[in-house]
């Protein structure tokens, strides 16, 4: 048996939807347990008062990366069958900024807003309506931005390919980066807390 199971035809599209449902539920539970169902925590990341989002995200990245790397090194997983979105540098930077601004203003990202809706948060319900409206507007104006949407096409690149480094080295560097970020986040949070207690003792 080899992964990815779907690509090797171990189950069909219908069954894949069942798996997607189960994985989606599990993802939602993980987000909620990580505290991502509360807008205050998510927004606090952008003011650097609570670094939980950074810690959770980097933990997820490092866990997934190490898992994928070692599973493929032992030959269980065929990485070449994993779908990679193509990179369009400039449109992605612009889109990322738009999404980031929306993140700060609304206090949710698309995934966490669904989690918050599930736990009955009214602001999240309004957020989802806004998101739907945004999708509609994007769809309507797509013809006029299509050329920009497809510009600066780079294909399906990965960091090792782009920087021409070995995969192991990239894995090591990302782990280092994550551990550094964790340490910096803890340090920053202590500083912030100290400042706060100074301001109002």
């Amino acid at each position: 048996m080899n992964a990815p199971f779907f690509k090797f035809d171990y189950f069909n599209t219908d069954v894949s939807l069942i798996f997607a449902f189960i994985i989606g539920i599990a993802f939602g539970i993980a987000l909620e347990r990580g505290g991502f169902g509360r807008a205050t925590i998510l927004a606090a990341q952008f003011y650097f008062t609570n670094m939980r989002v950074l810690k959770v995200m980097f933990t997820a990245i490092v866990t997934a990366m190490l898992g994928l790397f070692y599973l493929s090194v032992i030959g269980f997983l065929d990485l070449s069958l994993i779908y990679l979105t193509t990179t369009n540098m400039l449109p992605m930077v612009v889109g990322g900024l738009v999404a980031g601004v929306g993140f700060v203003i609304g206090g949710y990202c698309p995934g966490t807003s669904m989690v918050a809706v599930a736990t009955g948060k009214i602001d999240a319900m309004v957020y989802v309506l806004g998101m739907m409206f945004g999708i509609f507007v994007f769809g309507e104006m797509f013809p006029s931005i299509e050329s920009f949407f497809n510009s600066s096409e780079m294909g399906s690149v990965t960091l090792p390919q782009y920087f021409n480094m070995s995969y192991g080295l990239v894995v090591f560097l990302v782990v280092l980066m994550a551990l550094g970020a964790f340490a910096a986040a803890e340090w920053g949070e202590r500083k912030m807390a100290a400042k706060k207690s100074e301001a109002n003792p």
Binding site: K7, S80, G168, L179
Partner: protein, 217 residues
Amino acid sequence: MKNFFANLSTNKKFALIAFILGIIALFAGNPYGGGTIKVNEKELALSTINNSDKVTVTDLADWIIQGKADFELVDLRSQEKYNEYAIPNAQCIPIAQLPESDLLRNQKIIFYSDDDVAASQAWFIFKSKGYKGVYILDGGLNAWKEKVLFPKAPINAGKAELAKFEKAKEVSKYFGGQAQTDSTLSESKPSIQLPTSNVGTPKSGSTPPKKKKREGC
């Protein structure tokens, strides 16, 4: 040492494990397999004995006529030879360029060249790289010409064999060849003409290729 690890907080334990795994990753090699290959002798030998790794030319002809599209037909000969004549729907990947091809491990792949040799080599390389569905066109293009394009009328044939030949005649017509009965043999032998390559122009009536699995998010 044991004490040191036990005294760490859970966070720090996980951080330490991640760090160690990161260091091991430096020396763990390429996750895409690199150039090394693993061979399962027994499995390879068994599939060769059972002939389960071969596709006959008549089967392939039937599949193409039925418009089956769940396989990749790969022509391992040079580009010039491919341009001269190739089996319909085949793609040209000379054997030297196989390692850079974008054939995927979950595809059904049929290799052919003039005879069995190059196809067998390609088959072995791909089998050992963990490709699941790799097949050799039995007899290669020579067998294709002999049995599909220019089938010969059986001599002193029984009824069953004659019926088979009638079918072969139709099949050969479909691919632009000509069956060799005694009369045509004497007439047109010197000028056996290979049909012009009609690669890339799928015949009408064939079903569209199997829908690619949707991917991405």
